[in-house]
């Protein structure tokens, strides 16, 4: 069992858990993930590592309530435990000196971007960050990202904070203006946001890295459900990724594969909402 040391509600639906897992904390690096199971009947799901504390032996994950598993997870309080927590899995993000690195985060993926921005900054890069949210009330960690960014641009879909619109707008403007010689773009968020970030940077020939989030089971290369086509070659996201060259990803295949269990996920969530007295994870 792995104890939740602290819990923080970043928005009503996005939560941070700091979890006691010394083995994982010892080795965690930016860009890696863990596979967790909430309880003994639970499924295995991947969550990106948002932070770690090697002395304390803790690993921080941030998740959004989407289906049954994440809602079940959200019912847990600090002091309670989850059944399984395995990691750090996947290859760490390749940190190097690129000159200027643009870190683009969509929604709660800001939690994934922060350690990458921190590492890129520490490696001597100029870091420009773009973070996009649907609305101001869903935002978090602006301060944290700012801490590791030379420049920070915030967008909201509804214009309630920062620029109105999506992250690809300032990204495109920046590349078009040519003011910055961008060595690398790291874009992480919902698949559709990563796809459009990739389409935005491609005409400019700017190297772009994305962190893919397909369905996973074991997370160690055993099952192959997370396979993706990268430049026409099949790769396993869990061991060959999760970071890949955005311009080589077969986005349509990835999105189709992510939808494999939509019906089952819906059914599972509905049944759970009916059967539990917790209001489906809502308090």
């Amino acid at each position: 069992m792995y104890q939740i040391v602290t819990r923080e509600d970043l928005t009503p639906e996005i939560h941070l858990f700091e979890i006691m897992a010394p083995d994982v904390a010892k080795k965690a690096q930016a860009g890696q993930f863990v596979v967790i199971r909430v309880d003994d009947t639970g499924e295995r799901i991947p969550l990106t590592i948002a932070d770690w504390n090697r002395q304390k032996g803790t690993v921080t994950v941030v998740f959004m309530e989407v289906g049954k598993t994440t809602r079940k997870l959200a019912t847990l309080k600090a002091g309670e435990s989850i059944a399984n927590f395995a990691g750090p899995l996947g290859l760490p993000t390749h940190i190097d000196k690129y000159g200027t690195v643009v870190c683009v985060a969509g929604g709660f993926a800001i939690a994934t971007i922060v350690p990458i921005a921190r590492a890129m900054k520490a490696a001597g890069n100029k870091v420009i960050s773009i973070m996009g949210f649907r609305s101001k009330n869903l935002m978090f960690w602006e301060d944290r990202l700012r801490q590791f960014s030379d420049e920070l641009i915030v967008t909201t879909d509804d214009g309630s904070y920062g620029l109105k619109g999506v992250v690809t707008i300032p990204l495109k403007e920046m590349l078009e203006s040519g003011k910055e010689k961008v060595g690398l773009v790291v874009a992480i968020g919902p698949t559709v946001m990563m796809k459009f970030s990739s389409l935005t940077t491609k005409p400019f020939g700017v190297k772009t890295i994305v962190s893919l989030n397909p369905i996973m089971v074991d997370g160690t290369g055993m099952c192959g459900v997370c396979r993706v086509s990268i430049g026409g070659v099949t790769k396993f996201t869990c061991v060959d990724g999760p970071d890949f060259d955005a311009h080589k990803v077969d986005w349509d295949e990835l999105m189709a594969r992510q939808r494999t269990y939509l019906d089952e996920e819906k059914r599972s969530l509905e049944l759970w909402k009916q059967s539990c007295s917790c209001g489906g994870g809502k308090t």
């Binding site: 009947t41 639970g42 049954k68 459900v225 269990y261 599972s268």
Partner: protein
């Protein structure tokens, strides 16, 4: 010796095909006491113990059968477990017909003794006893040596049990959330009940072995770090966990699974109990399982139980070359699985939502024998045809997971990704590191992994004495 040889073995009761095709309960029900005694009494207790020599772990077969016959059950358990820590598992999934039973003297004139069924009977008898009545294993006094075993499958559990009995302090690191490896994620409940695996894992723990789950070696620690941490020897029993695919167009359509994914969802994650368990699995009406091994049979028989209307085994060679146990092939046939031999998929077509719809195949014919000694299949020109499918399970075999080998300095691997180890001792090219089971041989059997682990234990123990 009995006055007249009884050349017919006692049948083991099984669930009827129609009944079992709709449940995940064990197919073979096991002997009752009278069946077991009747079968045991057929044993002629030969002086030349071919059966023991035919057993990869050298179980004293005539002795345990004699004890059983004389109703000394505790004694039978002791004899069996003296050589084999996992008899409930081996009694069920060992290919006895090509090992101990193949060389049984009675086999020359009639049916060999059903050694596997008797082994299972003894193991199940012990399982049913209260803890206080179970025979206690003998454990040597502590040696002060620390052993790390990577992987808790058949090889790892065997190595752990035998090293613990020799007085060494053993820790197992397992990547998944339960111990048992392929016995838990690969072999279905109806062939290998998980409570049996759990009981045998518990037995290994009772010898003082510590099992740490959720531990992906190569990620949380390298083998070098483990050794630096004060372990005197390391045994790698990491298996062959990486699925092979066909590498043909359309293989990433939804509805196409590796056998590993399909079976892991069903067995480890209990997708057959969805939504009580959270992991889903979608099985369509027409399922094609590609391959002819035991894993292919398992996937096909799971598909039948999950409600598929037509389940095909698509195999590129003929019936004779199929590597699956005959018993499993018969079970699959009885349950309605349809075999398409000399057939090979060439590409998949999908619908607009990305789900597989059609599999294009070619017919094959058998040519000259290949490296495996089996006649190699050759494409029959102009024989392309299409099959409608909505689920495909690719069961072509597995290769070792590179996580440990690629992070271990000085550990040589072959082109196939298997770890190089001496067959007689399990010694790898790295001092202090042994390996055994599928990680060395590529996908093979439970018992061959256990045999390799036993040989490695002898070598490790020798090494530790000199240390």
């Amino acid at each position: 010796m009995p006055e007249k040889l009884n050349l017919n073995r006692v049948a083991m009761p099984k669930q009827e095909p129609k009944v079992r095709a709709a449940n995940f309960n064990e197919v073979a029900l096991g002997y009752q006491a009278e069946n077991a005694l009747a079968e045991a009494s057929r044993c002629i207790q030969c002086k030349k113990r071919n059966c023991t020599q035919g057993c990869p772990v050298g179980v004293d077969i005539p002795e345990f059968i004699l004890a059983l016959r004389e109703n000394k059950m505790s004694e039978a358990v002791k004899i069996l477990k003296g050589k084999n820590a996992l008899p409930g598992i081996c009694g069920r999934v060992c290919p006895q017909e090509t090992q101990c039973e193949e060389v049984c003297t009675l086999g020359k004139k009639g049916a060999p003794i059903a050694i596997g069924r008797l082994e299972r009977y003894v193991a199940d008898w012990e399982l049913a006893q209260p803890a206080s009545a179970k025979p206690k294993p003998e454990i040597a006094p502590p040696t002060g040596k620390k052993i790390m075993i990577v992987g808790s499958g058949p090889a790892g559990l065997t190595a752990a049990a035998d090293m613990a009995k020799r007085g060494h302090k053993v820790t197992i690191r397992e990547a998944l959330h339960v111990a048992g490896g392929v016995l838990m994620y690969g072999i279905p409940e109806f062939r290998m009940p998980k409570r049996i695996v759990q009981a045998e894992v518990d037995y290994v723990k009772s010898l003082g072995v510590e099992i740490k789950l959720d531990s992906v070696i190569g990620k949380i620690a390298t083998v070098d770090e483990i050794m630096a941490d004060g372990y005197d020897a390391v045994f790698l029993g990491t298996g062959a966990g990486l699925p092979m695919f066909l590498h043909i167009p359309g293989e990433n359509y939804n509805g196409i699974y590796s056998a590993n994914e399909f079976l892991t969802r069903v067995n480890l994650m209990k997708a057959y109990l969805f939504p009580e368990y959270d992991t889903p699995l979608r099985v369509g009406k027409r399922v094609a399982v590609i391959g002819g091994g035991n894993v292919a049979m398992d996937a096909a028989r799971c598909s039948v139980r999950l409600g598929a209307q037509e389940v095909y085994i698509v195999y590129r060679r003929s019936r004779t070359e199929m590597p699956a146990r005959r018993e499993e092939v018969e079970n699959a046939e009885e349950e309605g699985v349809i075999f398409k031999f000399l057939t090979n998929p060439e590409r998949f077509y999908g619908d607009e939502k990305g789900w597989v719809k059609t599999m294009e195949c070619v017919e094959m014919e058998l040519g000259e024998p290949d490296a495996s000694g089996r006649r190699s299949p050759v494409v029959k020109k102009g024989s392309e045809f299409k099959m409608d499918v909505d689920t495909v399970v690719v069961a072509l075999g597995t290769t070792p997971n590179p996580l440990v080998p690629t992070t271990t300095k000085g550990l040589d691997t072959t082109k196939k990704g298997t770890v190089v180890a001496e067959e007689a001792t399990g010694k790898t090219t790295k001092l202090g590191v042994w390996a055994g089971g599928d990680v060395v041989t590529g996908s093979a059997t439970v018992i061959s992994a256990m045999g390799a682990a036993k040989r490695a234990v002898a070598s490790m123990d020798e090494y530790l004495k000199g240390k």
